[in-house]
Symmetry: C2
Subunit: 285 residues, 2 copies
Amino acid sequence: MRTLAQNARLALLLEVAGTPKPGNVDRRRDLEELRFDHFLAGTVGTERGLELAQEGEPVGRAFERAVEGMAAQGGGNTQFGALLLVVPLVRAAAGSEPLSPGAAEDVVADTSVADAAGFYRAFDHVDVFVDEPSADLEPLDVRRGSDAVPALEERELTLLDVMERSVPGDDVAREWTTGFERSFTAADRLAEADGPATDRAAAVFLSLLAERPDTLVASRRSESVARAVSDRAAALDERDALETDPDAVEEFADDLVERGINPGTTADLTAAGLFIALENGRVTV
Amino acid sequence: MRTLAQNARLALLLEVAGTPKPGNVDRRRDLEELRFDHFLAGTVGTERGLELAQEGEPVGRAFERAVEGMAAQGGGNTQFGALLLVVPLVRAAAGSEPLSPGAAEDVVADTSVADAAGFYRAFDHVDVFVDEPSADLEPLDVRRGSDAVPALEERELTLLDVMERSVPGDDVAREWTTGFERSFTAADRLAEADGPATDRAAAVFLSLLAERPDTLVASRRSESVARAVSDRAAALDERDALETDPDAVEEFADDLVERGINPGTTADLTAAGLFIALENGRVTV
């Protein structure tokens, strides 16, 4: 029997191993400065933080610790977004079996200003790509890291409040406001898919990308690039290309890597789905 | 800073990710019934056992626990041999910095009959391929698992005694009798090689295979098959084929997978070398 924290680690590993996952590091592809081995080391580094979540420690503290450990490798940010989903889900699973959207909602509703401070402190450990904030939110720019904590405390913002302010525009934050809707959808699809868990991860990644433009791509590039990527994923998903024309998906994957287009939010959702599916016994390895 | 046990996990992950590793599961290849995802889950399962070794618990107990956790996936034996090297090395590293052959020798010299019993009990958790024992050693056939423990106690065999009786014929056991000679050689070569840790792992795997016939191949198939595989590896290694003619190594890898020839002992030594190199700061990720 794997522990909650172990299932979380396995979810991170299965996510990065799933191939093809267009635009992302996968079992067959590295990005220019972000490699598969960085994700392996990043996963090992998350251990203590995930265990804190399992032990019922506050989400912000567990998240910060997980990110700190994740960052102890040379590739930079590997799983920040995935951890922002998986840490509250581990916390929820510690008190609810099976893991349910309601349990996840309770955990995020319970977050405090101290949790928000932990989230901000996590940015001290690693560079994460984020949008420019609007002028009135500049004091709360996450890139200020722990320097933003006083502003956070003054405005009495909980971590859920912070996440609510990032929607729309960040589909990881959006999960916090929707009972982790797409994470649970991903878990359902993973359960229904065929083959090894890594093949299922690739199929579900494509279906998620087909459905909604990736918000990391939208932030880094543009809304229209993100939409075009999604449309192409949708066309492939519709004709079940992973089964019927795998070369077309491989080509899509190579093309995105070449153009430096990285749908990382969709990968984060896939990791969250894998954790839920493993935890609820709906995917086995 | 990763803990000893975390470096051990990372070594197992980097080993399986290294590609091409002819005849073994690697980042690009699965075997028929043994897949990459089984190795990922196997690694996650080793956590508690490796932590016991780090905490200074007896080698036999830590090994049995690591194997029990490793076996909690559907692929069967993934890292039994690697753990038989890495567990005593973690134990040695807990008391010696840098990790040295002498420290490893002290750990194995200190093993007891109880450690041997732990080793035998590990066979209760997973099917491991081993040679038929000679008639006088039948009561000590490891496939008897815990049923062999009384015979072990009667003959007062320590785990080092058991390992000594497996040499020649098992190059994992041989490491126990040579101060982990080839494991430390692998670590030196990993340090001298170029590129990401996974590329180094592939290069060092090939050099080890070039040097000595793999004892798992010799047991499962024959001495002559093992020798032929080694000769082919030597020819590739000599002309630095991973650099100069990578397709030839890929072809070798595909050919071995197709013929079901699995130089697993050489992969175990590579994992041990990775642990030593990570622990002594000679390879970074």
